[in-house]
């Protein structure tokens, strides 16, 4: 276990360094770009002297490097993300947590649907290699992948909400409501093709392996061969990687889908925050997503160690 613990520790030590680089880049780029929260928040009032007084109050008139130093001190010593310039009376975790929560719940649905359809479709296509079913299945999903979200969402709304009145046209009423259906479809349909093709490719790579032939020779039925032998051997490691990395997508949200359907998730909120030059909120979201990404990477690697005997042996962990 020493090896594994050391490995985890080494990986985790890189997290603060990653966060430092990412936070500096984000901090610098947002503040360096045109416009600032004071100016944009003031709308049609263009009183530059008043702007300067407010900027001074928030320390926005200091050099960016100095502002970054202050920010770093605040966040390291007090865990304080600083003020939001738009929602001035709420702490940043208060503001973004509900948005992430909305996107995450939506993301879980889309995630499950993507893999639930994608993996069997890919395995099926691989098994049917050579017949018309293989390209047929894959091209159906490629077709959906090539429809831009900007087109897909309005069409879904038009058909299922405006014409058929089966589903609400937008909004978010919680996980067990009909309002989840359109966004779930819109979010998962385009990504099914990727998962299906990957599943197909890895399955194909395994189909002709000796152990598969052995399994067939043993007289096992095809379903068992595919599910037990092929799927386990080829799919699990690859899918662990894909699944692990797409987990980050859960909290990133989806800008277009959320905006078009009026879902108060983090994707839409990032865009609003950028437009409102809400520097600290943008930075906080970037930091959360970065952390999630680093951790997801680590988890994937750990999962692979557990799953794949070769990696396990190589590390001497057991």
């Amino acid at each position: 276990m020493d090896g594994l613990a050391g490995y985890i520790l080494r990986r985790l030590l890189f997290l603060p360094l990653t966060l430092l680089i990412v936070s500096f880049a984000t901090f610098y780029i947002t503040r360096w770009g045109p416009g600032d929260p004071v100016s944009v928040y003031s709308g049609q009032y263009r009183d530059q002297e008043a702007f300067d007084r407010v900027r001074h109050k928030y320390g926005l008139d200091k050099p960016i490097i100095e502002q970054y130093g202050i920010y770093l001190k605040q966040i390291v010593l007090h865990g304080d993300f600083g003020p939001s310039f738009r929602f001035r009376d709420r702490s940043i975790p208060d503001i973004i947590a509900p948005k992430i929560w909305v996107s995450a719940r939506l993301g879980v649905y889309a995630f499950i649907l993507t893999f639930l359809i994608g993996i069997p479709a890919g395995v099926f296509a691989a098994v049917k290699q050579g017949s018309w079913l293989d390209p047929f299945v894959i091209s159906i999903f490629l077709f959906f992948q090539s429809i831009p979200v900007l087109v897909m969402v309005p069409v879904l709304v038009l058909v299922f909400a405006a014409q058929l009145h089966w589903l609400p046209s937008g909004g978010f009423d919680g996980v067990f409501s009909k309002s989840m259906i359109i966004p779930t479809i819109a979010l998962s349909l385009p990504s099914i093709a990727g998962v299906a093709r990957l599943a197909r490719a890895t399955t194909l790579g395994t189909l002709n392996e000796d152990f598969v032939r052995t399994a067939r020779a043993k007289g096992l039925d095809e379903v068992t061969v595919i599910s037990r032998h092929i799927a386990r051997q080829s799919l699990v490691p690859v899918m662990t990687t894909v699944i692990g990395l797409s987990l980050v997508g859960l909290i990133e949200g989806a800008f277009f889908t959320e905006t078009l359907l009026g879902i108060p998730g983090i994707g839409r909120f990032v865009f609003e925050s950028v437009n409102g030059r809400d520097y600290n909120v943008i930075l906080a979201i970037v930091l959360v997503i970065t952390t999630a990404f680093v951790l997801a990477n680590l988890l994937v690697d750990l999962a692979l160690i557990v799953i794949d005997p070769r990696i396990r042996a190589g590390r001497g962990v057991r």
Binding site: Q44, D89, S169, R232, V236, G262, P264, L299
Partner: protein, 557 residues
């Protein structure tokens, strides 16, 4: 074999669970700190008998006296600071000031029951209404007025508008510039009497006092909870903020002891989750909705079942093309005039805007004193426009021209496209369109970076000073066209302090005509609210400026 498979699946499951746990942890952390910040705010709230009653009502789905609307989250409910229209909608219900504007935009008593103006027009003495109270029952005194005004101006409050709306009071600017903490021109005479001395006799001073910057806030609450008091503010307005869950819902509840009497409408529930309001309206989930241009054709069709519920109201706002009068080629008035005459606005209104929005007849919108219905703008005349351009100093050597507008850069609005097409067809000038998102757009206008820009102006209060003086006085901070005309300046200065209303408005009308003649702007359209209101909702009004509007609404559902 199968044990390894189980192990593999367990591994994937573990990875999933751990990753989800991380997410939930982040979310839960936010949730926790939310509770802790909420606590002091809700602690300061004293639930009254009516609160319990209303919450009982709220449980029933179709309780009468409840209005259901779709809304956006307010950003920040501090009347001294918020200047976005989204927050103002709620602020005007929760807070109030010495005076307010009624539906006809006339000044009416509010916290002050009366006031005297000195003969020289420079001193206003307000007498507070004894019945004026905060939502916790505490009477409003002149000390609260003094505190609220001085707080608004104080630099720590970080208000961009305070100087604009309170700066006419002698000494107010000393507070906003950090030279003093008290307004020297504000005298507290006794608990119910307060006097303001102005730097000049300004007839629009009362209008400025009707604006949220001059609203009263509760100093006790702010002092005890300086950071989060706005989450559950103790105001003086007709409605209390009962509940606000970010991105979910916001509930306003009648404050029955309001100085102007108990509101008829008891509860207003805002759904903040977003989505198509028209569909929600048709489904009967909300009682009022705005209507976009795309749905207007259908709604305006008399055979549509929604047509009877349709209403349209002018807003005091004007959409315009502004010229940077310093930037070539628009430093030549002839070029500006040519551009103004080359656009057939009536055709755009008919074809592009489907007749939904009226063509502007001038700079002053309907309802603003001094507005007249007769068209003061340049009529469409392609030939004359061409001739004017030929006479200008840029004839034959037109520089590149770009029209800037606010937008995401994906698609250009059909109105802007039509305008640019008219210039191309009638003047032979190709104008490029540059879209910038609003932060960049406003900053670049401030810096005079654009040759011309497509923008709107929303009146803050119904006085011509709020657009003509603010935007066209040469030394105004908001003179985005950089227009300088000593004759106009002199007239604006005179009108500012002219006690004779008629003469004053005549001066403004004169200025308006001159500005249009000089083609500093091409006034394009006056804005209009298109909306649907359910038949069981009575007295629902769409005031042309942001003012309190729910008090008299009746819902008989």
């Amino acid at each position: 074999m199968s044990s390894k498979l189980t192990l593999g699946i367990a591994g994937v499951a573990a990875a999933l669970i751990i990753a989800l746990a991380v997410i939930i942890l982040v979310v839960a952390k936010g949730g926790d700190s939310k509770k802790s910040t909420d606590a002091p705010a809700s602690g300061s709230d004293t639930p009254s008998a009516s609160a319990t009653k209303a919450s009982a009502d709220f449980g029933g789905k179709a309780a009468s006296g409840e209005l259901r609307l779709r809304g956006e989250d307010p950003l920040f409910l501090d009347p001294a600071v918020a200047q976005d229209a989204g927050s103002a909608l709620y602020i005007v219900e929760i807070f109030s000031g010495l005076v307010h504007l009624d539906k006809d935009l006339k000044i009416q008593p509010d916290l002050a029951e009366s006031w005297d103006v000195s003969p020289d027009g420079k001193t206003y003495t307000f007498h507070l209404n004894k019945k004026a109270t905060f939502h916790d029952g505490r009477p409003v005194t002149t000390a609260d007025i003094k505190y609220s005004f001085e707080r608004a101006l104080n630099q720590d409050t970080a208000s961009v508008t305070a100087e604009n709306f309170l700066g006419d009071i002698v000494g107010a600017r000393d507070v906003s510039r950090g030279r003093a903490t008290e307004i020297s021109g504000l005298k507290v005479v006794d608990d119910l009497t307060v006097a303001f001395t102005l730097d000049a006799a300004k007839p629009y001073f009362l209008y400025k006092l009707s604006y949220p910057t001059a609203f009263v806030v509760d100093q006790r609450q702010i002092k005890s909870n300086p950071k989060n008091w706005t989450l559950k503010p103790t105001g003086t307005g007709p409605y209390k903020l009962k509940q606000w869950k970010l991105g979910e819902k916001l509930t306003l509840e009648a404050y029955d002891n309001n100085v102007l009497g108990a509101p008829k409408l008891k509860t207003i529930n805002y759904d903040l989750t977003g989505g198509s309001t028209l569909v929600s309206y048709e489904d009967g989930d909300i009682d009022v909705t705005g209507v976009g241009l795309d749905d207007l054709d259908r709604i305006q069709d008399r055979s549509d079942k929604l047509n009877k519920e349709y209403t349209q109201t002018p807003r005091q706002s004007v959409d315009y093309i502004g010229f940077n009068t310093n930037a070539p080629p628009f430093d030549d008035p002839l070029v500006r005039q040519a551009f103004a005459m080359a656009v057939d606005r009536k055709k755009i209104a008919e074809v592009v805007l489907k007749g939904a929005i009226p063509v502007a007849t001038g700079i002053l919108a309907p309802g603003v004193p001094g507005y007249t219905a007769d068209d003061k703008t340049y009529a469409f005349d392609a030939q004359k426009a061409k001739n004017l351009l030929a006479q200008s100093k840029y004839a034959g050597k037109m520089p590149e021209i770009t029209l800037a507008e606010s937008g995401a850069g994906a698609t250009v609005g059909p109105t802007t496209e039509a305008i640019v097409q008219f210039w191309k067809d009638n003047l032979g000038v190709t104008v490029k369109i540059q879209q910038a998102e609003s932060a960049t757009f406003f900053t670049d206008i401030d810096n005079g970076k654009y040759q011309m820009f497509h923008l709107g102006w929303i009146m803050d209060y119904p006085d011509p000073e709020d657009v003509l003086d603010v935007l066209f006085y040469s030394k105004s901070k908001q003179n985005s066209t950089r227009y300088t005309n000593p004759g106009i300046d002199a007239k604006l200065e005179a009108a500012r302090i002219d006690p004779n209303t008629e003469a004053r408005l005549a001066t403004y009308q004169d200025v308006e005509k001159q500005l249009i003649k000089d083609a500093v702007w091409i006034p394009m359209f006056f804005d209009t609210t298109h909306a649907l209101v359910k038949p069981y909702v009575k007295n629902y009004a769409f005031p042309p400026v942001v003012i309190e509007r729910f008090r008299d609404v009746e819902v008989t559902r």
